[in-house]
Assembly symmetry: C2
């Protein structure tokens, strides 16, 4: 198998693009795909400082690497969730530190849940009697990302969601016809309030296997373990179903997602939208909330009976 | 396994309904589900005469049986497509005749393509250089159904599409975000012109295995072979993917379809619709067409160079 561009040994075959690339050309092509998404969806400009949400995994570290290569001004944000299982959170933080060292001490900050708020996700979820901690975890991460972005004056928060992630979420939203989610799902979630940052996903055009290959050929040392709580059988099934379609018809996954964005752009979901509820400010942290009084994040830390 | 209603030996287990039914209760339940769909979507009234499109297969013969049991005034319409492979069209017609005999000589009519128009589907598609005859066949059947319904003054044309059929088409339309198809897909397709009959699908709430079980316990003698041209790998794959979802979460297929209808009813697809093209009348047959001059059906029979 030979690189379509130079004829060298190819490192990856991408039938959906009718393209095979060697290591060197993959390292050029992936950032170009990200740049194309940044431009196409107007994710951010070169004047803005970008907060990159990094977990220590292949997608977020690839994203950070790509944005640095493309010359954007970035800072990493690692949220230490206090997940002890096989040292998951500590190990992940170490990968972020190693990435920074390997990239001319790229700036990053760590928010450690236990140190800052007194509890990590496992005990927090347990105390709040949640059977699975994922919803609490999502809430906590959103709050912290918004706070750090606001306090640091960042233009946008960039996350490493890839095409497989987005297509699986889209399939889930579609199978249940979640109108609100379908209307919102996009590579760019605008800031609906001065204290909520714009959220952007520069890797939405890249398949998971492409970001994985990129991380590999760039020698990024990422954490391979999935979060011990993330064994979400539903998402795995959706990804598997989409892979079946992809196997039969290369590009099917990409078309599903891109044609969705296109149809939405042409107004497919424009009808019947309900008005957004008015936003109040949380009486403790000041972040906008649809609740009265405390926001959902601040309520998490309230004493229980 | 026992019937949920009477405790007799159950003939079918329907986990999505948390229901197991014996033969006798299945024969009551299936027509009730069809009646519910007729009422819910306002498919037709008891004053209307219904033209039932029958192919000789389990779905359309079950539909005809159900509508007769429910006391509707029906006539069967069998279109003999001239498919010779293992006597497919002749065999199918024989099942329709046998059904009629077994149902107090229920009225039906046959339109034989070769006799009426001079050619059956296989040679017609071949002469028109279509690699697969299905699109020609669909066009021909729609034209004939509309013509017979118009000439006979029928209120609606009923077809045997079941939930599996509709869910598979929906998945296909969704994976490609076919806005026009998504807006139109429904148990009732209104008559957009006096010469085009309303199309209705009373079996949309019933799974394929439920209509199959119904046909079996009612002793309907249907043709088990699929049309020799119908080996559509894509539809089979979509049905398989939906069955995977159903297996993991009973009712998933039904929810996918019903929540789609609900979301549409709430205006999800109401935005961005393009105006329908104005309809002309075909200069030969008089049926409405978006073309100038001859409609697509009449053009089929024009001499070729």
């Amino acid at each position: 198998m030979k690189c379509t561009i130079c004829g060298d040994v190819a490192a990856i075959n991408m039938p959906q693009h009718r393209l095979r690339l060697c290591e060197a050309h993959l390292q050029e092509w992936v950032p170009r795909m990200a740049q194309r998404a940044i431009d196409k969806y107007g994710l951010f400009t070169r004047d803005e400082r970008i907060l990159v949400a990094v977990s220590g995994g292949k997608d977020s570290l690839s994203l950070w690497d790509i944005l640095i290569r493309l010359g954007y001004e970035t800072e990493g944000l690692y949220i230490h969730l206090g997940i002890d299982h096989e040292g998951y959170s500590d190990e992940s933080e170490e990968r972020v530190r190693a990435f920074s060292r390997a990239h001319d001490d790229a700036p990053f900050r760590v928010v450690n849940l236990e140190e800052t708020y007194g509890q990590g996700i496992p005990t927090l979820a347990h105390d709040r009697r949640r059977s699975r901690p994922c919803s609490v975890c999502g809430l906590v991460k959103r709050h912290i990302m918004n706070r750090v972005a606001y306090e640091g004056g960042y233009g946008a928060i960039a996350t490493g969601h890839n095409l497989d992630d987005e297509a699986a979420v889209l399939l889930q939203n579609t199978l249940h016809w979640q109108a609100g989610y379908l209307r919102r799902q996009a590579p760019l979630l605008p800031a609906s309030h001065p204290r909520l940052a714009r959220k952007v996903k520069p890797l939405v055009h890249l398949y998971e296997r492409e970001t994985a290959a990129y991380a590999l050929v760039c020698g990024l040392d990422y954490i391979e373990e999935e979060c011990p709580y993330s064994a979400d059988a539903t998402t795995i099934l959706y990804k598997e179903l989409l892979s079946r379609l992809e196997g039969r018809s290369p590009g099917a996954k990409m078309q599903f997602y891109l044609q969705f964005l296109q149809a939405k752009g042409q107004g497919l979901f424009a009808g019947g939208a309900e008005a957004e509820p008015p936003l109040n400010e949380c009486t403790r942290c000041g972040q906008p909330t649809s609740a009265e009084g405390l926001c959902a994040f601040c309520r998490l830390w309230e004493p229980r009976e």
